[in-house]
Symmetry: C2
């Protein structure tokens, strides 16, 4: 059977094929960067129009009650919860991943008096490491980094928190959440999982692995729009002891009593700080609803099939590339990363051909396989383009070697 025939068969048999039309993707583009910014659901624009014209424009201040703006953060958190193995009351949508990291790292330090070390790995997503630096500057934390292999052995009595990203942003490699959570608990430490590259693509069972804290991103696989609000998770058993320093009025037990003194709202609601970003939450809710409707298990199965098919298609074209992602699809997230000295111009050449992946310094070509809106036909086409760019050394062209200010 030819590659074209196999591709057609795979698409014909794809149970998620009907969902592709629920997204509004540009013509002549194969989008392999949904791990950076998820695509636009078709339902988003009508929802935004209703929020802007009706709720804000006509309802004005009344919409805080009448349109349910006050409950959005909790409601959307509750919808994210089943995607990550949490109870609805354990998740809330608010602020950015970075700000939520600060809250939860602080909360963990507060629960482990006498311990100051936040343990992570070098090369973790920068903002995770930077947020610890902020607490270190305040004199409240000590950052310790250890490689994957050395993490478990570095868990000593100084470690308050083990903080890791479940799916590595650069390599796509998965941590063993269950084993590491257990090891941390045995050392008396708490665990915070960054689920930015997991949620909506890879099954996560926070409850099952007994995790303490988690954060995650709204604009990647959840398709919440550029800079969408993020989410935060705190296991129910910690709610009574939860305290974090970003004590704003939306996290107060009675914000509209306008008391001078802070009293935290119960549970994850105290993670709210300023007024909820209604327009951003509106777009996020549409994405979460759609991803939840498709279902994580089916998304995961298709993600594995897509990336496997890409590797196969590439191999059949005679191309050998240095795969830095795990070759076992169960050991990686929804992406494939390749190391190549010329990763930057290769990425630019692909973009010029309408295949949008991204480059991660210094030498990684990162291709994301967002399972909700990609066809197998996109995958074989993308592999063909990559093979052509490499065999024709198209990346040598000057135009692909000019660096943008930001990439």
């Amino acid at each position: 059977m030819s590659l074209a025939e196999r591709t057609r068969e795979l698409d014909a048999a794809d149970p998620l094929a009907p969902f592709i039309d629920r997204f509004d993707l540009p013509e002549r583009v194969i989008y392999l960067d949904g791990n950076s910014l998820g695509a636009l659901p078709r339902a988003t624009m009508p929802a935004m129009e209703r929020a802007v014209r009706e709720e804000w424009g006509k309802g004005l201040i009344r919409s805080w009650n009448d349109a349910g703006w006050f409950d959005m953060a909790q409601r959307i958190g509750g919808k994210i919860a089943p995607l990550i193995g949490a109870a609805p009351s354990e998740v809330i949508a608010c602020d950015s991943t970075s700000v939520n990291l600060f809250k939860l790292i602080s909360a963990a330090l507060d629960m482990r008096p006498g311990r100051k070390v936040v343990l992570s790995e070098p090369g973790n997503f920068p903002t995770d490491l930077y947020m610890v630096a902020g607490l270190e500057r305040q004199g409240l934390a000590v950052r310790r980094l250890a490689s994957r292999e050395e993490l478990a052995g570095t868990l000593d009595e100084d470690v308050a928190l083990l903080m890791l990203t479940h799916v590595h942003y650069k390599t796509g490699a998965l941590h063993d959440m269950r084993a590491l959570t257990k090891a941390a608990h045995q050392a008396g430490a708490l665990v915070l999982w960054d689920l930015s590259h997991s949620t909506g693509a890879v099954p996560v069972d926070l409850g099952g692995v007994n995790a303490d804290f988690a954060v995650g991103c709204g604009y990647k696989y959840l398709c919440g729009g550029p800079g969408a609000p993020a989410f935060a998770y705190v296991a129910e058993r910690h709610h009574a002891d939860l305290a974090q320093p970003l004590t704003g009025w939306f996290g107060h037990a009675a914000p509209f009593d306008f008391f001078d003194d802070y009293e935290a709202a119960p549970g994850v609601e105290q993670l709210l700080c300023g007024t909820s970003p209604v327009l951003g939450l509106t777009a996020l809710e549409v994405g979460v609803d759609l991803i939840a409707e498709i279902g994580v298990e089916r998304l995961h199965a298709k993600s594995r099939a897509l990336s496997g098919f890409f590797l196969k298609s590439l191999a059949e074209s005679g191309i050998a590339l240095d795969l830095v992602s795990p070759s076992d699809s169960l050991a990686r997230g929804s992406q494939l990363s390749f190391r190549h000295e010329q990763a930057y111009p290769i990425c630019q050449a692909l973009i010029a051909r309408g295949v949008i992946g991204d480059f991660r310094a210094p030498d990684i070509l990162r291709l994301g396989f967002a399972p909700a809106y990609l066809r197998f036909a996109d995958i074989s086409e993308a592999a063909r383009h990559l093979a052509e760019v490499l065999t024709g050394e198209e990346w040598r062209r000057d135009e692909f070697n000019r660096r943008a200010a930001v990439t």
Copy 2:
């Protein structure tokens, strides 16, 4: 001349009258709550549609460069700057007012080693006081409250920061920014002004009064939409020493180099933390552009005329109410607050008549006079409704005495 005639004359002579059509206000509503949530500019929906459909939907990840998403926070900050007497490089749009308070209170404490006291007044907007509580819990700050009269006398060598809201959210009373800033500096303290109820309604000259820090809200007089991103100001002279603990990747000097170690971007850019909220910033920019086009001086003049006309209209109807706002229009922001035991049902009765103000516990009826989109005819009508509610004791009706969960 009758009240009706005078009203017509005032509207006919209003230089800002043409701008009212630039807002999309509901029929049969007189909106006196623009100080809580500003009205919807007509240009917002087209801008949101472009951002969602074109920039996100079609441009996808490329829009970070191609649609200028990376510069939005700085660009919008630069547009807010002239409204508050700042240089464009001193202002940035990001996060919520609450989160920005945390950054700048922390920065101030960091610049005054050996001093821990953050001085404010009781009854300041709750989130301002609560954010100090968070730092107090971290052991980094000590909150001290003193009444307006006692503030200057309480500035001693322990005070790191004087933190006040320029226009009081409840009474509308203005602080003397120049005198208090000077007094704080003489005591070796820094000053942080919350401009949430000032920006876009009352002239502010941060540079002229030599202020150190400021924050402000995007969704009140700036008409940026519900929960819009806020802004933060740091005087140029402090940029070299600026350090704050929410050290996220968007505030890094080189975020796309993905280094493990944090290095702050220069100036106010280091106040960025997580990924910029593009959809919220899109709506905010439209509001800021419109308010800047109208101009603060003209807005202030009309604001004073509107509130003065309301008081006069009310007096002519024979109603005497307990005004808690300063009677001198130069001493108050763009609002009038009245104390009344029955403020809650009075507010509800007004809303039922289409006059939307708000209630602030325990006994304040607060009416905002957003000058960009109110007619003098709205003002005389609102005064007539209030007089009728009071003389007819309409507020006694059961339906107006049931409290909503949140108000």
